[in-house]
Each structure stands twice: as structure tokens, then as C-alpha cells.
């Protein structure tokens, strides 16, 4: 059971995550205006988006300190999600 003092510590983290997310958004937009090769262009944007997504999931959704059952549900979901993402490229030769 978390105390009010624990929650106050969380609040400071939430503010820090907000600043990080805002900064990463500006970085994504800035990178998109650079003349980079196509692969790097897509790669950088997806890496920054993944970092932002991880920050939201870990801190706002409290996944950094969740129970095993939630990790199990999400692990299975991620597995199917990855399969879905690779399905188009795997079948594009047919």
C-alpha cells in the first residue's frame, strides 16, 4: 500500500516524464526536417516514438512496478503484435 509520501515522489517523476516527452516530440519533429537517408529517417522516428511510448507505459501506466499476471498478458500481446507487424513484409514476396 502506497503512502501519501510515496505518491508525492511519483508526482515529481510524472512532471519529469512530461518534460522528457515534450522534448522528445520536438526532437522527432526536428529530425524529420533533416536530409537523412530513408532508412535512418524512419529508424530515428520509430526509435524516438518507442522511447516515448515506453515512458508513458512505464511511468503513467505504472508498468515499471506491476504484477506478474499483467506482464504475462502484455507479453502475449506483444508477441502477437510483433507477428502482425512482420506479416506484411514476410508475405510481400508472394
Amino acid at each position: 500500500m502506497e503512502t501519501a509520501e510515496d505518491i508525492r515522489k511519483h508526482v515529481r517523476i510524472y512532471i519529469g516524464v512530461f518534460v522528457a516527452l515534450a522534448a522528445l516530440t520536438i526532437i522527432t519533429v526536428g529530425l524529420s526536417y533533416l536530409e537523412l537517408p530513408g532508412f535512418w529517417h524512419i529508424g530515428f522516428a520509430l526509435i524516438v516514438a518507442t522511447i516515448k511510448g515506453a515512458l508513458v507505459a512505464c511511468y503513467f501506466m505504472h508498468l515499471i512496478s506491476e504484477k506478474t499476471i499483467i506482464y504475462s498478458v502484455l507479453g502475449l500481446t506483444v508477441l502477437f503484435f510483433i507477428f502482425l507487424m512482420f506479416l506484411p513484409t514476410a508475405t510481400s514476396h508472394f
Binding site: F18, A57, K67, L87, T89
Partner: protein, 197 residues
């Protein structure tokens, strides 16, 4: 009859039933958006030429503004839950009200973007790009509307539960928050995929 394990963790799972329920729902949502992202990849890989969103009229400044608005709304959402945990009901109302307000700002900006597209005769039938653009952003917009409905319920009639069962009410706000952060998370990926790449 009292609903079991609404506050206390279930002995088998270690979490309250509501929390497991919302995560299972979010898992299904991941697959829904995952299928559409997968379709996007399929269409993009299969196309001879794929346009950059900004080259065909998508507004990067407006989308950046909307990204900031959604991120801010995620912070106010989690702060509303934290306020309840610190027994500050007044602050909870302030933060949740701000979340709802920011959700409306997001929809208004999106409506401006849509109207600009329609003025330039860009419809889902115009091209494959606009078909997937309207499908993804439209479905996401529906999720934003869903979040507004749930959060408005928790702010107004649903908040009566705070007086009789504060722990259960705080859990409800936490579950609504998990949904709202997921909506934010989807936009974090939609923004670069549709506007910047």
C-alpha cells in the same frame, strides 16, 4: 450483493479484478490498432510511391500541437489519480476537468485539420494514403470521444462513490487513466507514421 475483489487483490492473480479486466481490454485494443498499423505497412511496402504527409497538405504544426495537448492530458489524468491517493478531492476535480478540456482541444484541432482536408477535396477515397490516414485518425478520434464520456462520468455523477467507497473510486479513476494513457500512446506512434515519415 457486493462485487468481489473490486478493491482487494484476487488471491490467484494478485491484482483487483478491474485492473486485470482493463489490461485484457487494452490487449484487445493493441491488436485492433496493430491490425491497422500492419495494414499501413502492407500498403506502404506495396506502393510504388508513398507520399510524405507534409508534402500533401498534412499540417505538422497542428499535429505537433495535438501531440503536446495529449501528453499534457496524460499528465493531468495521472495527477487526478494521485490527488485521490493523497486525499485531495478538490485537486482531483481540477485535474480531471483539465483532462477533459484538453481532450476537447485535441478534437477541435483535429476537426480543423479534417475541414482543411475536405476543403482541398482530400477524402478517404482520394488515395490509399488518405484512406489509411482517415481510418487511423478517425478510429483514434472515436477513442478520444470514448475517454471523454468515461472521464465526464467519473467527474460528475460517478464521483458520488468517493463519499461511500473512496478506494474503489480511486481504482476506477486509475482504470480510466490506463485507457487514456493508451489513447496517448497510440497517438505517439500515429504522429510520426502519418505526418513525418
Amino acid at each position: 450483493m457486493e462485487i468481489p475483489y473490486a478493491v482487494k487483490p484476487h488471491p490467484l492473480t494478485g491484482v483487483a479484478n478491474g485492473k486485470l479486466g482493463i489490461w485484457l481490454f487494452l490487449a484487445s485494443e493493441v491488436m485492433l490498432f496493430g491490425a491497422l498499423f500492419s495494414s499501413y505497412v502492407l500498403l506502404r511496402v506495396g506502393a510504388d510511391v508513398w507520399p510524405h504527409g507534409r508534402d500533401i497538405g498534412l499540417s505538422v504544426p497542428l499535429a505537433t500541437l495535438n501531440t503536446m495537448v495529449l501528453i499534457a492530458s496524460s499528465v493531468t489524468m495521472v495527477m487526478s489519480w494521485a490527488s485521490l491517493k493523497m486525499n485531495q478531492f478538490g485537486k482531483f476535480r481540477l485535474y480531471l476537468g483539465t483532462t477533459i478540456l484538453l481532450s476537447f482541444v485535441f478534437l477541435v484541432v483535429k476537426a480543423i485539420e479534417y475541414s482543411e482536408k475536405f476543403e482541398h477535396h482530400h477524402f478517404p477515397s482520394t488515395s490509399t494514403f488518405f484512406a489509411i490516414y482517415f481510418t487511423l485518425t478517425g478510429l483514434h478520434g472515436l477513442h478520444v470521444i470514448g475517454g471523454i464520456i468515461v472521464n465526464s462520468y467519473l467527474l460528475l455523477p460517478g464521483s458520488k462513490l468517493w463519499k461511500t467507497d473512496p478506494d474503489r473510486f480511486a481504482n476506477r479513476v486509475e482504470y480510466a487513466g490506463l485507457y487514456w494513457h493508451f489513447v496517448d500512446l497510440v497517438w505517439i506512434f500515429l504522429f510520426p507514421v502519418l505526418y513525418l515519415l
